[in-house]
């Protein structure tokens, strides 16, 4: 493998990995506060890309770009919060009841079907705000670098949020002990809805910033969902550091697999990695081992 090939696989792998890491973090926020895995995350990511397609002009314009980013983020914050209401409404316990599995998947199906009704299986192409960057003579879409920066940004912001804000602290409390949090007078439902909303913000910015390199069409959401979730399980469900590391691993390894073994075996190799990690460390790389059971 020559140096330019290595560079290409690393840079693009990390860029793709940033998308998976961001999806992983959006899973985490919700799962830590309510035990629910939002299976609409992939479709929501694509939805943000579709919105970007409609808003962004063909020629780069920073003002419009920033306004659009804020607008789409606001839209998805509201939309995903509402989805949270629908998901939490019939639920008494996310452990004993699995209705959330269906409700989140149903939202995903509805979003995909809606996009399909509008655009068929059209691939939505979104122009890049920055020109491509040359890495070892190979032209690399700048969106990959923006995505990496975005992943770091959200990692830091969510960490700060959990440690410094009241809502964030309450969220951490719920994650550690739901019953104790209830006793302490935390309004659990409200916090859970905020968590849904924040996961919407993460997905909106990811879909928007990554739009030039994300495959935006009616049926591509499920692929991102699975890759993001795989990355998260490898890194450790519930851990944002795990999501970052898992995302990078899955991104680079699937790029490498496509290069070395062929595109057919991309999934097989990623799944092999997942199974290997789970067998050696069932809680994932950065997952917390279960506390004493007896």
């Amino acid at each position: 493998m020559s140096i330019d090939e290595l560079a290409l696989i690393l840079v693009r792998g990390l860029g793709q990995g940033a998308i998976y890491a961001l999806i992983g973090m959006s899973f985490n926020i919700v799962v830590n506060s309510s035990g629910i895995l939002n299976f609409a995350n992939g479709a929501l990511l694509v939805l943000a890309g579709v919105l970007a397609y409609f808003i962004l002009p063909a020629t780069p314009d920073w003002t419009i770009w920033i306004l659009a980013a804020v607008g789409i983020a606001a839209c998805l914050f509201v939309f995903v919060s509402l989805q949270g209401v629908l998901t939490l409404f019939p639920l008494k316990s996310s452990v004993e009841q699995h209705s959330w599995l269906i409700t989140t998947m149903a939202i995903s199906v509805i979003l995909s079907a809606g996009i399909h009704l509008y655009g068929g299986s059209l691939a939505f192409r979104v122009p890049s705000i920055l020109p491509p960057v040359s890495v070892f003579g190979l032209s690399t879409p700048s969106a990959y670098f923006l995505l990496m920066a975005l992943a770091v940004f959200w990692f830091v912001v969510i960490r700060w949020f959990h440690q410094k804000t009241f809502t964030g602290l309450a969220m951490s409390a719920i994650a550690q002990d739901l019953d104790a949090a209830k006793v302490a007078g935390i309004s659990v439902k409200r916090i859970q809805l905020v968590a849904f909303g924040i996961s919407g913000l993460v997905l909106a910015t990811t879909g928007f910033v990554g739009a030039p390199v994300i495959n935006i069409s009616a049926d591509t959401g499920i692929g991102y969902l699975l890759s993001g979730f795989t990355a998260l399980v490898i890194g450790g469900l519930g851990s944002n550091l795990g999501a970052m590391v898992g995302g990078a691993l899955v991104g680079v390894i699937s790029m490498f697999a496509a290069y070395r073994f062929g595109g057919i075996y991309q999934d097989t190799v990623t799944m092999g990695l997942l199974i290997a990690v789970l067998m050696l460390r069932p809680e994932g790389i950065f997952g917390l081992a279960a506390a004493r059971k007896v």
Partner: protein, 598 residues
């Protein structure tokens, strides 16, 4: 099953015979399935006969999935791959190699069982959604592998396979195959109805609810999980084999990952753990999009999504689950449920009259030496030693966090030691798995009682005998048998916390464990119940020769019943000896005066 019979003869009056009464929903389900295939079949409607025969095969897979989720507690998203590998194997054998169908069917089921066994392997290591994801991976990769190995599987263009003998109508459009499907589904449904009332079914429920409790009952969770996966694979593979003559063609895109997820969702939508759940779930999820919405191809997915969402909002426990909850809640005045030791042992037992001779210096049945265990910086055990003599009640006391429960866990095997040694019955068991120690004759209870709400109160006691593999027989509380008839119908979820604790104690007493470890058995009990408990402990020591290690905060009770007492402090033993000797120990005095409950 032999244990059930042994139990009947040993302790149950003939009046309360244990004949299993199947819920009427089983017969309703069988009737619905039979009607769905045979009515259009008799009328000669090929389309509906075909559709419902296919749907019935899916129902069987969903029933197996339901069993996996509800009884065995295993998340598998890969059942479609088991179905697929059975179908592909059978189709390749008949369609490409001209083998007779019966032989191909055996081959298909064999292939399904192999994949089922492969799914069971990760289940020994990971659980919950993690296991779901491992099996999902297999389902995701399965069709790709079918295409990659096209020289064996027929590749992307699939394999045509016809079995005329099964597909030729015998009346109207009823084929031998559709009759087979009805019988097979009826069998699967009956199996699922009977399973929870068998030893295997109860063990599955125990393992899925509390692997620790299972180990404490001498059950190896991995074995039970593997059996569950193999049973599920068996049923699923038969359905997969029957798919071949029905469809007449097997191609890789039929077994994509959504096919596997479909069965899981069907169980959730229908109602997890409900007998009729899979039928309703498969009907809804297959017929709505593929039959009723067939003419709305553009809006099919959208409507499907909205319907699924609406169903789950209206029926959060699944259609059958929520409906049956609603019906139960409308039935008024449920019976008040209590478990009382008082009933279990009337004091007319001649205990006080003739105390059994007990060995003053019996052999040490439990011997822990220099046990050390730490979690990072936190020291659970810092070189603690303990010796419990045969036929004694040994009290283990100390403040919270002093290592009492850690000591119990070390003895029963739940906490492997960093260093030190554990001997049971004179044998070094330091590296032995908990369930093996149980089988040597060690029973225990937990601080949070492991009571299984899916089982009746009686079954919750009964599993104590079954787990060990031998019936309690005359060793048990003979009086308990008279309560069986009442307890068999009662639901333990209505019991208060303290009573759940008693139930667990009765369970461990019913097993023929010679050594019994009790973790705070008196917590949550009333003074009268505590007195009964103390009486029971003495009864077991004196009448049945059991050895009891008792962790308890109620020091008064410990002092009254214990032959020896060990005091723990910060992971080490502070004092040990006869109650009279211990009393003078200053550390113990501090314990007494330190806090009422300490």
């Amino acid at each position: 099953m032999s244990q059930d019979i042994a139990l009947d003869t040993a302790s149950t009056p003939p009046a309360a015979s244990q004949r299993l009464k199947l819920p009427s929903s089983v017969w309703l389900g069988i009737l619905a399935i039979a009607a769905s295939i045979l009515v259009p079949g008799a009328l000669g409607n090929q389309y509906w006969t075909y559709t419902f025969t296919l749907v019935t095969l899916y129902i069987v897979v969903a029933i197996m999935q339901n069993m996996l989720i509800s009884e065995a507690g295993q998340m598998s998203f890969g059942q479609g791959a088991v179905f697929g590998i059975a179908a592909v194997t059978a189709a390749v054998m008949t369609g490409l190699h001209g083998q007779p169908f019966w032989l191909s069917a055996i081959g298909g089921v064999g292939a399904g069982l192999v994949l089922g066994a492969l799914f069971a392997a990760p289940a020994l290591r990971v659980q919950g959604y993690y296991l779901g994801f491992v099996t999902l991976s297999a389902a995701l990769v399965f069709p790709q592998l079918l295409i990659a190995f096209d020289s064996i599987t027929g590749g992307v263009n699939g394999v045509p396979a016809f079995v005329m003998s099964l597909a030729t109508p015998v009346y109207g459009s009823i084929t031998p195959l559709s009759i087979l499907a009805v019988l097979f589904a009826a069998f699967a449904l009956l199996f699922h109805a009977v399973l929870p009332h068998t030893v295997l079914g109860r063990r599955m429920i125990i393992v899925s609810n509390s692997p620790e409790a299972a180990q404490a009952l001498g059950i190896h969770p991995g074995t039970i999980r593997s059996i569950a996966f193999l049973i599920a694979a068996f049923g699923t593979a038969i359905a997969g084999v029957l798919y071949v003559p029905l469809v007449g063609f097997v191609g890789p895109t039929a077994f994509r990952v959504d096919f596997s997820i479909f069965f899981f969702l069907a169980v959730i939508v229908g109602g997890q753990g409900k007998l009729l759940g899979p039928i309703i779930g498969v009907w809804l999820l297959h017929l709505v999009p593929n039959v009723f919405l067939a003419d709305f191809s553009h809006y099919r997915l959208l409507i499907y999504g909205v319907v699924a969402l609406a169903v789950m909002l209206a029926f959060p426990d699944g259609v059958v689950g929520t409906l049956s909850k609603w019906i139960t809640s409308r039935r008024s005045g449920s019976e008040k449920v209590t478990v009382s030791l008082h009933d279990a042992l009337r004091k007319d037992d001649e205990l006080a009259a003739s105390p059994a001779p007990r060995p003053e210096d019996g052999a040490a049945l439990i011997e822990v030496r220099e046990a050390r265990k730490s979690f990072g910086n936190a020291v659970a055990l810092g070189g603690a030693s303990l010796s419990v003599k045969e036929g004694t009640i040994h009290g283990l006391v100390g403040p919270n966090g002093s290592g009492k429960t850690s000591m119990l866990n070390t003895i029963s095997g739940f906490m492997p030691l960093d260093s030190g040694k554990v001997e049971l019955f004179g044998r070094n068991v330091t590296r032995l798995a908990p369930w093996r120690r149980t089988r040597m004759g060690v029973g225990r209870t937990f601080q949070t009682p492991r009571i299984f709400d899916r089982l009746s109160i009686w079954e919750n006691v009964q599993i104590g005998r079954e787990g060990f593999g031998r019936a309690g027989g005359e060793n048990g509380l003979a009086k308990l048998g008279s309560l069986a008839a009442r307890w068999r119908r009662q639901d333990p979820s209505l019991l208060p916390h303290g009573q759940r604790r008693l139930l667990e104690i009765l369970r461990v007493m019913e097993s023929d464990a010679r050594v019994i470890l009790l973790d705070e058995p008196a917590g949550g009990l009333s003074p009268e119940e505590r007195a009964d408990l103390a009486y029971l402990l003495v009864y077991f020591r004196d009448k049945l020769g059991k050895t009891i290690l008792l962790v308890e905060h109620d020091l008064r009770m410990v002092w009254n019943v214990a032959d020896e007492i060990t005091v723990m402090e910060t992971g080490t033993v502070a004092a040990s000896g006869m109650p009279e000797e211990i009393k003078s120990n200053p550390k113990v005095r501090a314990l007494f005066t330190g806090g009422g409950d300490a």
